[in-house]
């Protein structure tokens, strides 16, 4: 698994090496579901790319198919049309690329494993030697400020702590590509802000390519380099916004800058049109 050292490779985010294939490339992606005998089109002709080291948010109203797109990239759902390339290669049927990590919306920590055992899970599967495994798990626990809770079971943790464990469970395997499906959707505003800080810190070190699904505009602006705005169902790419806010970012003071306000109002206008379409009269 290609490991990115914190300092060795720290490419400017908008200038990936020209020859390298994008981390994720999606072409003409479509998805139809059968729901109680009705044919529902969830996603229509979606194309975009995420470059290596780039943080991209998929933003759209509920039910626009953004999670469906992410799940197709993660091979959890089979597409009805189009193709998905990871580092230029199609993924073998039903098997996710080993360099891809995934953080779920729903809490999927294994309740029968402690914090420490949850985090080491991927390393156990990969057969990482015990010493190295202990070292990496200890580092992950320190990074996510989980010290003192190593031997707690998930049932004893708060929602924010559980999501930090989930994040480290995915990151400890050092994926170059990270898929995140509204990972902070269930958290309260303050916990969420704290998680943004944690995620930004971790990402500044390793610069994974991230595809992050959210319906929260401020979250998308805080985290991403680019926002792909999807239309209401069937989900299509409506507009793509470059988020040229300086890095490293501070999740609190960022929101006080004029540029943030300007981008926010522009995207909000476009997003608002889509919200209106799904509003129940």
């Amino acid at each position: 698994m290609g490991e990115r050292g914190p300092d060795a490779a720290n490419p400017p985010r908008h200038a990936a090496p020209p020859a390298a294939a994008p981390a994720i490339e999606v072409r003409g992606l479509g998805k139809r579901f059968e729901v109680r005998g009705h044919d529902v089109e969830a996603v229509r002709d979606v194309s975009f790319a995420v470059r290596a080291g780039e943080f991209v948010c998929l933003l759209g109203p509920s039910g626009c198919g953004k999670s469906t797109i992410l799940n197709m990239v993660a091979t959890l759902i089979a597409p009805s049309a189009g193709e998905i390339l990871i580092e230029g290669e199609p993924q073998p049927r039903g098997r996710v690329h080993p360099g891809v990590g995934y953080v779920f919306q729903k809490d999927t920590l294994f309740p029968w494993r402690t914090v420490e055992q949850n985090i080491r899970y991927a390393l156990e599967l990969a057969g990482v030697p015990r010493d190295e495994m202990n070292e990496r798990v200890a580092a992950a626990i320190a990074q996510a400020h989980l010290g003192g809770f190593e031997h707690a079971y998930p049932a004893a943790l708060s929602g924010g702590m559980r999501q930090r464990v989930s994040l480290m469970r995915a990151l400890v395997a050092r994926p170059q590509i990270l898929l995140m499906d509204e990972p902070f959707g269930a958290l309260d505003t303050h916990t969420k802000l704290g998680m943004h800080g944690t995620l930004l810190d971790l990402w500044e070190r390793d610069h994974q390519a991230v595809l992050f699904v959210t319906h929260d505009l401020s979250e998308a602006l805080t985290l991403s380099d680019r926002i792909i705005l999807l239309s209401a169902r069937p989900g299509r790419v409506k507009e793509i916004f470059d988020v040229d806010l300086p890095r490293p970012r501070d999740e609190v003071s960022l929101r006080e800058t004029p540029r943030y306000a300007e981008l926010s109002s522009r995207i909000w206008h476009s997003l608002g049109e889509e919200f209106r379409k799904v509003r129940v009269p």
């Binding site: 995934y102 309740p111 599967l125 995915a170």
Partner: protein, 281 residues
């Protein structure tokens, strides 16, 4: 809390005492004429019978003194209480063990394979609808009067019970856990061993308490029909001699055994499922 528990114990003791006292003196007292000792014996007779069957007192009602006399008595009575108990417990143990093991493996296999469950589920449902005890004479005929036939009878009643529980558990393992494991790099086999097995533990344990009772029933019924030793045979022998006390000794011993085995399982369950409901500690 402690007081409530104490008062519950007090009530329990009072109820047991009342039952024992009525049993002992009800028939002869004030012409009540209930609980005829010919059919039901009475506590004092049962106690005496226990001492004799257990080689603690001789037939002349003298205390057995010393190891030599004790073993001489054991040798004389070929189905004394201890030999009978050992035989019944041994067969219960093996019937339970084989039944639980095969029921568990079958449950996980069918629960995780749509193809296998499609083929075998209807067959197992059909077999399950046979009252298994009705097969006991057939099993004695096929396997003889020895231990094997008891173990097979016991296995037969346990295996379905465990199977249907674990099968249900394995089919309803949270999809989120399965997806998480797969995306963290688990192979099909690793998904089974690291997710399905721990996730079905609670279902397995839910079936173990009835399973131990069923295993005991299987062995006793087998012994009723034909056996060289065992508590079931002790009951039949006493019945042939119209000795209610002997039957009652066997029944009470079975009750004690049942309570002891259930306690062991409860302890094991508390240890293995310690991750459940531990919020707050």
């Amino acid at each position: 809390m402690k007081r409530r528990r104490g008062s519950a114990l007090l009530w329990q003791a009072a109820i047991v005492l009342a039952v024992v006292a009525t049993w002992q003196w009800g028939y002869s007292h004030a012409g009540l004429k209930m609980l005829d000792p010919y059919f039901l014996s009475r506590p004092s007779d049962i106690w005496q019978q226990f001492l004799q069957l257990g080689c603690l007192k001789s037939a002349r009602n003298e205390w057995v003194a010393g190891a030599a006399q004790f073993s001489e008595c054991l040798a004389r009575k070929d189905n004394n209480l201890w030999v009978a108990l050992y035989s019944t417990l041994k067969n219960t143990f093996f019937g339970f063990l084989t039944g639980v093991a095969s029921g568990y493996v079958l449950g996980v296999l069918l629960g995780r394979s749509a193809r296998l469950s499609e083929i075998f589920e209807p067959l197992l449902v059909a077999l399950n609808s046979i009252p298994r005890i009705a097969l006991a004479p057939v099993i004695i005929l096929a396997f003889g009067l020895g231990d094997t036939s008891k173990i097979v009878t016991s296995w037969l009643v346990v295996v379905f019970l465990v199977f249907f529980n674990v099968y249900e558990g394995a089919r309803t393992v949270d999809r989120g856990f399965l997806n998480a494991a797969r995306l963290l790099g688990a192979s099909r086999w690793q998904v089974t061993s690291t997710v399905v097995v721990p996730a079905t533990m609670a279902w397995l344990f839910a079936s173990l308490t009835p399973a131990i009772a069923f295993a005991l029933i299987g062995v006793i019924v087998g012994e009723f029909i034909g056996a060289e030793s065992g508590i079931g045979r002790l009951i039949i022998e006493s019945e042939a001699r119209a000795e209610a006390a002997g039957m009652m000794v066997a029944v009470i011993v079975l009750m004690v055994v049942g309570v002891a085995l259930t306690t062991v399982i409860k302890r094991l369950q508390d240890h293995l499922l310690r991750w459940q409901d531990r919020a707050g500690d």
